[in-house]
Symmetry: C2
Subunit: 724 residues, 2 copies
Amino acid sequence: MTQVAIGEQVNGHSGLHKHVAATNRITSPGEEQLVLNTIRCLAADLCQQYKGGHPGTVMGAAAIGIALWRYEMRFNPGNPDWFNRDRFVLSAGHACLFQYLFLHFSGYEAWTLDQVKNYHSPKTRGSMAAGHPEIEYPGIEVTTGPLGQGISNAVGMAIASKNLAAIYNKDDLKPIDNKIWCFTGDGCIQEGVGQESISLAGHLGLDNLILVYDNNSVTVDGRIDNCFTEDTSAKLIAQGWHVIDVYDGSNDLAAVLEGFDRAKQLSGKPICLNIRTVIGHSSRKANTGPAHGQALGDDEVAYVKRQLGFKPEDKFVIPPKVYEYFSGIKAKGAKAEQEWNETYKQYRQRYPQEYEELSRRICGEWTAEAWQDALPSKAKLPQEPQPTRKSSGIVVQALAPKYKTFVAGSADLLESTFVNFKDQIEFQKPSSGLGDYSGRQIRYGIREFAMVGIGNGMAAYQKGAFIPIMSTFFMFWIYAAPAARMAALQQLRFIGIATHDSIGIGEDGPTHQPVALASFYRALPNINLIRPADAEECMGMWTLALDDKSKNTPSIFTLSRQPVPLLPGTNRTKVRLGAYVVHGAEIEDPELTIIATGAEVSRAIETAKKLESAKNVRVVSMPSQRHFDMQPDEYKQSTLRSSSSLVVAIEAWASYGWAKYAHASLSMHTFGHSAPQQQLYDHFGFDPANMASKIDSWANKWKVKGRLPGLGEFEELLLGYVQH
Amino acid sequence: MTQVAIGEQVNGHSGLHKHVAATNRITSPGEEQLVLNTIRCLAADLCQQYKGGHPGTVMGAAAIGIALWRYEMRFNPGNPDWFNRDRFVLSAGHACLFQYLFLHFSGYEAWTLDQVKNYHSPKTRGSMAAGHPEIEYPGIEVTTGPLGQGISNAVGMAIASKNLAAIYNKDDLKPIDNKIWCFTGDGCIQEGVGQESISLAGHLGLDNLILVYDNNSVTVDGRIDNCFTEDTSAKLIAQGWHVIDVYDGSNDLAAVLEGFDRAKQLSGKPICLNIRTVIGHSSRKANTGPAHGQALGDDEVAYVKRQLGFKPEDKFVIPPKVYEYFSGIKAKGAKAEQEWNETYKQYRQRYPQEYEELSRRICGEWTAEAWQDALPSKAKLPQEPQPTRKSSGIVVQALAPKYKTFVAGSADLLESTFVNFKDQIEFQKPSSGLGDYSGRQIRYGIREFAMVGIGNGMAAYQKGAFIPIMSTFFMFWIYAAPAARMAALQQLRFIGIATHDSIGIGEDGPTHQPVALASFYRALPNINLIRPADAEECMGMWTLALDDKSKNTPSIFTLSRQPVPLLPGTNRTKVRLGAYVVHGAEIEDPELTIIATGAEVSRAIETAKKLESAKNVRVVSMPSQRHFDMQPDEYKQSTLRSSSSLVVAIEAWASYGWAKYAHASLSMHTFGHSAPQQQLYDHFGFDPANMASKIDSWANKWKVKGRLPGLGEFEELLLGYVQH
């Protein structure tokens, strides 16, 4: 008896919270039951061998896995990179054994049983079965683990697929029609980023997205009834999703398949299959916290095996019938790809221009042109002071209309962040009347974390086919930080626009004025934090971030709210060096060097002119610490002259990290304050007269000592008003 | 005609998305209409004077403000600190002009009209009307601004109030019965942290919490229909809330009041008043993005005034009748407090013990005892290796049962983080059967960001009455970072338990292994990041965090998953110095100093013993960079000997920030890896033999040079396998 209900309307809560008890009721034909049992025992063995891992989900969701890999998803194990493959995201990343096993059974050549056996004791080299799925390996679309983000990635992939389909598909030939399958548990649904993503997906009507909710009601600390008692189906419906409720998903493969069949008939909204399962099915620990993330223990493993008709002493048993059961997948996949190849061949003939563009994107190339030559030269840039957020917008205007690789968007700050572009179409459900799926301007809503997770999904969909441009105030890149980190980890490129980057935001006050956030992004591996001094450096910043060498690295541009002058010494070609002399380059032997970034560079130059303690002063602009670190020692020494001159840094952020480059800094050492921006710079002591005075005192002190400061003598030169 | 519907069941979506058009229909009696008009013109003027600010919410929600401050909330303007006052949280912090105006009208002495006139051009000193509400000022319970967090704070306050009521209220006398009112807009509801908080509040049945949703459907980028088209009322119902729909909240004060009246009759669940308003009501910019966050412009202000019967040339007009209208609030509040004083006096007589304890907590004192003397001495600590997460748990066990100030909790990792305590009761809705409101162990669910926002609300409810202990893996303190920052900004103390703090987590892999996160927390003002080397330092860490001097500072303890030995040289009394010599203290003139933190300290000592380039080696444990920075120069110099010896740091995190303390570091310079923990330490080169070898090479190089490294010569000594 199948128990499936399509929940368009849900009346009351009670019906949906009854979980079918773990009865080990065999309802499927013998063959499928053998497969389920085999998988369960395998999971138990694989975790028990090293006494770790997450066995419970595999055991409870085995039937879902069969439905997905054997029946529903369209992919070719022989070619994990086939472009039009369905994408599968395991948002519940800790349940990766589930995915590894099905990749093995589906016939991915690299996913041998020996590889799977590495699970939870991966060798440090050559091992693919990591503790959470890693994007580097075949069949894995994104790295997951931190809960909630997989859902955002899946939404991003759904957007990517809809967008490509809207742009390239023709009435007669549709090379893009893949679906996005996202497997989630209770955890990802509790997470705020999961909720944000679900909300946006519902608004956008992404009906190529199927969320498979492994609803076992158990997490690490046990049954979730102790903290999470929502009517999830009703909530999803309210968020614009179709919901299909499936009961007894652990035992009843037929019910699961019927759920998926009903899903195929629905359109216009993303679909959630809310499938009730029993975590740790077949074990006496079923339905409990320990089944989630602990090996079962030798006794329990033996019990499970006996229950399921296996011998306790036999480990990693896979009867030949089980391999036979899955053996058709490879041929089916190869056939699907072959048919697609035919389609794409015809597409090439009939639509050669679109074919060329799409193929280039599939290969991860966004242009072969020297696009940066089309940017205005320094002489052609606006000569009066401009906010760098606005100057950055010049490049968005130059690139986004022309190259479909770029999909811009903002968390409710489109105008303020200058990511609008001419003739843009909003990415919206066509029936909304606000845009369509060919659009490349996304209104993410007030959902900064989801925005970047979604961007990661777009970037991961097909490496290099999309470069998301995502914007909000720099302060709110703290909300998005977990997703930005994931981009860095997975080597996914995005362009992050982070405006209003300091006390320069003014009246909005300390809740909006970053002080420490740059320290995080500068410490993080594989991410660029670039703070341009003016419009000229903005051109260089974009060039650097979009360089082919940067294709594996996300970038965050921290930009000023307020206007900054176009400085004589700035040079776009030097941004890639990370730092360079922007004032006083002609001075051979500087007595003092000032390093500054962003909006403080012009102030630093003014300060240099006012100094009395030193007349031969150079000012260095350091738009990117990371790139400076990469330079040869000789360049670094000759730029900063740290062994022969005093070096002081000026930046309206925390001093943390500056001791590597300077003997002292003029920094923020407290949170900010609410006042007009100009007052704030004075209030915190960043006016050139005050800074020159502070530097003079300090420099004179060291002149008297007759040496340069050593380790342990780094000073924060206190500025202005001390609040705490 | 009032239009109110109580939504227990919501049928379909359509009815709820009809917004009443801005008709300027006068439905309230003349007096209240005058008040509404006055407020609208005032808002327009106050923003126009400096051409900035957020006028629209004030204009649209004026009737809600009247309902709250004049009718519903119980507070005493004459005593903003009256303990049993209702708490009001403006989650939509940018709408603070709304709150400032009503604080003024309600009669808070400090909130003069001149103070309010500072709005959006606050002086840098003495001005209270900041761009977002700041906790330091009367009538403001928490600082808000970053969207979504106010809701989490309000949930925390509701928990605090329920908890105190459950513990201290008696059948005959109830000194705690305040309500929590949270005003929110569309933005906070879109934010993930808002959703997480709403979800938990529904589960907990916090019926002392009223969420007043100013539903104007407009944010910065315009009408939210472009990104947010959920059925919010249906969603809230699914999340366990009562929902009362109010239409025409801008014009119909009677309807608003009826909504509040109906709310008073409901119990068992938190309540949301979903009130439809027109942002920028009375202006031609009504219902648009610009009405949200821009001054209206001189012409538009003039228009508004003419519409509402005011003269354009008159600014800041407040007719005497308007002051009269609000004049009863002070007396009402004084009376309410006086009645409460009577109640509390009787409570003192009848329940002296409870009175004493409660009063002490109200004063922000959690104990006068030398509680740390009750902790086991070093000799009494477990002598075999223990994970520091477990050692930290010793203190939780010692304090939490005894002092009700502590409310522990975890984001689904109770067992792993050792915040359980003997005989604990879970904080749960009594009808759940899982606990009751007297409980002090909170299951936050997989909602790390909400957890810390909620903790902030508890801490802010009454300064010092609650010290939340909140736990998750250190990696997921990145999800919570925005809330941790808000605690630091507002000087709210919490104890953050951050376990599994490095590659020591092992198989979970790079998604779970922090590398850069400590750099953020170390750069952030007013927050302690403490990494103890062993159980002895754990005792000192807690002592430092709970010291009276630390009452305005949150702390995060980063703790190991794996066991670490109890080191001979550790000393709990020295943790407060931030760093101290833990090995080789007897050496007068060290040739080399190694600084290490946490689990790496023991490795550093082993490394020191293996060095060949130097025999006189001291090892310094540095549990807290922040506290070390506070020490006098003499102490810092004598501890590190940076002017006379090579100094190298060892820490399995990024090297960022170490150049201030060391000439070189052995650090993580990439993301981590999935493998068993012991393998990982070797893989990344943190085994003592390898580290000694690397240090020897480096030290010998400098011996040859005959000097110490200078600025610009800081080296990351590469360890082990390079991944990217």
